[in-house]
Amino acid sequence: MPEIPGGFGSFVPGDPRTREPWHVNQQTILRAGILGAIAIALFVTLIVRLWALQIISGNEYLRIAQDNQVRTVRLQAPRGSIVDIKNRVLVKNRLTHEVRVWYAELPGKGDRPTRHDVLKKLAGVLNVRPKRLYREVDARKVDPLNPVVVKADVNHWQSDYILERSDQFPGVEVASHYVRDYPQGWLAAQTLGYVGSATEQEIKNNPSIKPGDLVGQSGVEAAFDDYLRGTPGVASQRIDSQGRPRSELVANPEPQPGDTVQLTIDADLQSVAQKALKDGIQIAKNSCASCWNANGGAIVALNPNDGSVLALASYPSYSPAVYAGHVTNRKLARWGLTASSGLADNYPGLNRATMGLYPPGSTFKPVTAIAAIQSGVLDPEANLHCTGKLIDHGTRFDNWDPNANSWINLPTALALSCDTYFYQLGQRIWGLPKINGEPIQKWAKIFGLGKHTGIEIGDYAGLVPTKKWQRRHYKAPEDRTWKPGDSINLSIGQKDLQVTPLQMARLYGGIATGKLVTPHLLASVQRDKRTIKLGISKAPEAIAPGSDFSQKLNIIRTGLFMATHDTIGTSSAVFGSFPIPIAGKTGTAEKYSNQYQRNFNQAWWCGYGPTDKPELVVCAVIENGGHGGTAAAPAALEVFRQFFHKSNTYTLPTQTD
């Protein structure tokens, strides 16, 4: 039957442009076959690939999938405690709770209770303004992987309330962590230092420190950070792709708590030193008309035999607890602990015992004396004329006592603290031939000035001015050359000489024993009550060899003893009646105050006792007011009283060196 357009031969009716119906022919079948072949090829490709993925590499991908949803969290290790020499706790840890909000977990649109309800209720529990809470939470909505800490250090009642009603607080979490705790309050704040989140530099330098770790930033916390820090643990937790936890944290390994660091500090002595310093400043303020500005100071108590530091007091101070937990710049500024707020509070963060730089004044005279003896310009037994003033090249140099007029030997000169006596030594040393070098500077350095003492918490080196230094430091030609006046000023520890109280304590320890110690704070490191390391026990170094030298030191010691016991002595009023024989030297140094554009007295007292077998060196300095004998000596006495458990009565002299 012929095919008719539009007929049943094709279900397509005739088309005007199609002469004959468009039939499926052999060619079409062939092409359909090609299409089928392509389809089969593609499906075979898929199946083969699927086989490779699911069957051949299945286990490998399964492992990746399992790792995919595990987040590892560093578990903060409890930081080691810091204890004093008698194992009294100075710093420990306290568990605190902070409330965090996970933005992604908060109720979404249309949920009951609403996000607003939850936050409002939370604000009520935490006693913060709801508006502040909304703002803080909203500000962090772009970062769903990290929670917003809405309040640090919440109390037990608050954390329990939230934990017990966790269903009412979706997205709210209470996290616990350790913060530093200071049971002794303000004790040794600058020496103990503080901890803070690791800085970029610290993370770069130490591969075991990771962002967010707490690292000691200053003082003992920084110096012994390696012991204190402990080893963080690792905990794993299953999370979803949004980072939300889906299981409990499982710790492996557990964090290793930090070691206990035992310091050579004696908490009782430290406490007394701090109080004595405060009292001394008060005494200084009241002691004279121009002493109103006495506003800071430091006391160092050192064992002259092994260098262990028993007390490092610095005033003004602060409560170290301000650095615990959530630290804000505003909080620190209130305590004068930021760069901009420091001046108004006279820099409480500065550890003046190790980093306060002062001219030593008359406390430096023993060094001048040794230098003069050793360079052969002084016979310690010979008498020099102590006068009220000395004129050198037309410049007048005053004695602190303008009425002085007597011929005295070295011990008496030290006892009286006769400035003109030492001016003459300065003159003589200046007049030495060049081959002799710079004896005062040389001996100052031998006694440890102008360089770091080696104490673990770090200190300033100070400055011993030399001719070379003077040439480099000053611009004006008349200032750049070393003149007789420079030697004269240096002979009584004035002008450019800068020392720290710790350096001076070490120096006086050197006079007391003939040996220079390395001051140190670390007594031992303990782990699980066992000592794993002892503090540095560098043997004290002899200052100069030979019995000849120790005889010369004896003359100095005699002078220092006369200063505290002879009727003419500058601090005998204070120390004369103390049952333990103490020897020491006052000093009243002038230091220029940038703030007030004038000189202020820096009151010093440095000494040691008992004189026959020295056990303790104390150096006290009071800034910007007072005299050595009236302000610093009584403060130092307090420390000796506590150390020897002895007391005495005395009346303060009116004005001394």
């Binding site: 397509v12 009716p13 005007p16 119906p21 089928g36 499906f43 699911q54 990746i64 999938a65 979803d240």
Partner: protein, 395 residues
């Protein structure tokens, strides 16, 4: 015969429908069962994949998808009920509808994640480019039927290319590169079945390859950016997967992990962490195959691929039995659409095909895709049940 009395060439001659009983007896029930199995498998898979997606509403996506499947079934029946001749005669109208809806998208469309592909009708969003897939097949077949004598002419090929270029350009601008690729594949299949000369076909394939190279490598190297950088990266990411500065292939990496982790038997609907914990993105739409792979393993995925292949086989069988060139071209186009989409989608989840937003036909969650695919299969069945066999029965 009465028909022969009808004047030749009446453009709108009434189509004669075959008796219903014959048509129904002729329906390829295996094809229908295959399609139903695919849809059923899709619903089962969606239930497993999306059970945890919306907290408290385990059937949120399943219920939607069931509704779409219902609408799709109605569309399938409707599409099959219309005589294919209607599609042939009114191909221009169908073409215009496709172009118009695609044109409306940039004007009124709803944008999601940087592309504007959807039209909002009430609370319902639909994606014209999905429906345009089948409309383009019908339009091209209609155009070819009109030029039944000139199929081997170059002008016919050029006409087809012009016809397909307009919707392709429109979806390309959405931007929906994947659908544009589908149109290109469909064109190739339609020309193949229609009997275009091998020379023309070969030229076209070569031109496409050169064009792709230009688009992806040569023009950017010369400083002309036709594709956005992320598009280039998605297209070429599967060639060098480790080069991924913008995480363009993050999805694929996670998808491969999901598939691989599924292993032979799968990790179940609860233990499939990639899917359940949200590491696998788009786990119920573009990457549902990977989710199925993770939950049901190689067993599940190979059954799914086998179902597709089964439907393709029955489709090609219907092509051979269409008896009529127009019907054959329509079936070829629809089958090719399906094969191409399955390959590109599944290949993407395994990292052997470019990353394009092509859904997995009949399985991915999404109303437009499911309904449009079922409608297309309705057209296929409509042609099949009126094919040679039916006419043979009548005779």
């Amino acid at each position: 015969m009465l028909e022969s009395a009808r004047p030749l060439g009446t453009p709108l001659a009434k189509t004669r429908e075959l008796p219903l009983a014959i048509i129904l007896r002729q329906v390829d029930w295996l094809l229908v069962i295959g399609i139903a199995a695919l849809v059923g498998y899709g619903l089962w898979a969606v239930a497993g994949v999306t059970g945890h997606e919306v907290p408290g509403q385990p059937h949120y996506y399943l219920a939607k998808q069931e509704l779409y499947a219902g609408v799709g079934a109605v569309m399938l029946l409707l599409a099959a009920a219309f005589h294919p001749d209607l599609y042939r005669r009114y191909w221009r109208a169908l073409y215009v509808v496709a172009i118009l809806t695609l044109l409306l998208v940039p004007l009124l469309g709803v944008a999601k994640r940087g592309s504007r592909r959807w039209l909002q009708i009430g609370s319902f969003q639909f994606q014209p480019s999905e429906f345009a897939k089948v409309l383009v097949v019908l339009a091209l077949a209609g155009f070819l039927a009109e030029r039944g004598r000139a199929l081997r002419d170059r002008s016919t090929v050029i006409g087809v290319l012009i016809l397909v270029a307009i919707p392709t350009a429109l979806v390309f601008m959405q931007p929906d590169f994947g659908t544009a690729l589908v149109y290109a594949a469909v064109t190739a299949a339609v020309l193949l079945i229609a009997g275009t000369r091998w020379l023309h076909l070969g030229t076209l394939v070569a031109a496409t390859l050169i064009g792709a190279a230009l688009l992806v490598w040569i023009l950017p190297a010369l400083g002309v950016q036709v594709l956005r950088p992320y598009q280039t990266q998605r297209l070429t990411g599967f060639i060098h997967p480790s080069f991924d500065p913008n995480h363009a292939t993050y999805n694929v990496a996670q998808s491969k992990v999901a598939l691989g982790a599924g292993g032979l038997h799968g990790r179940g609907t609860i233990g499939s962490t990639q899917t359940v914990l949200g590491f696998l993105p788009e786990n119920h739409t573009d990457f549902i195959f990977a989710a199925i792979g993770e939950e049901h393993g190689f067993v599940g995925t190979s059954i799914l691929l086998a179902l597709y292949l089964f439907v393709v086989w029955r489709g090609l069988r219907a092509l051979a039995g269409a008896g009529d060139g127009y019907g054959a071209v329509v079936i070829g186009g629809i089958v090719a659409t399906m094969v191409f989409q399955v390959f590109v989608n599944v290949g993407m989840t395994m990292g052997i095909a470019p990353i394009t937003g092509i859904p997995l036909p009949l399985v991915s969650v999404g109303g437009s895709s499911l309904i449009a695919n079922l409608a297309a299969l309705g057209v296929l069945i409509g042609v099949q049940m009126r094919g040679e066999g039916a006419r043979g029965r009548l005779r």
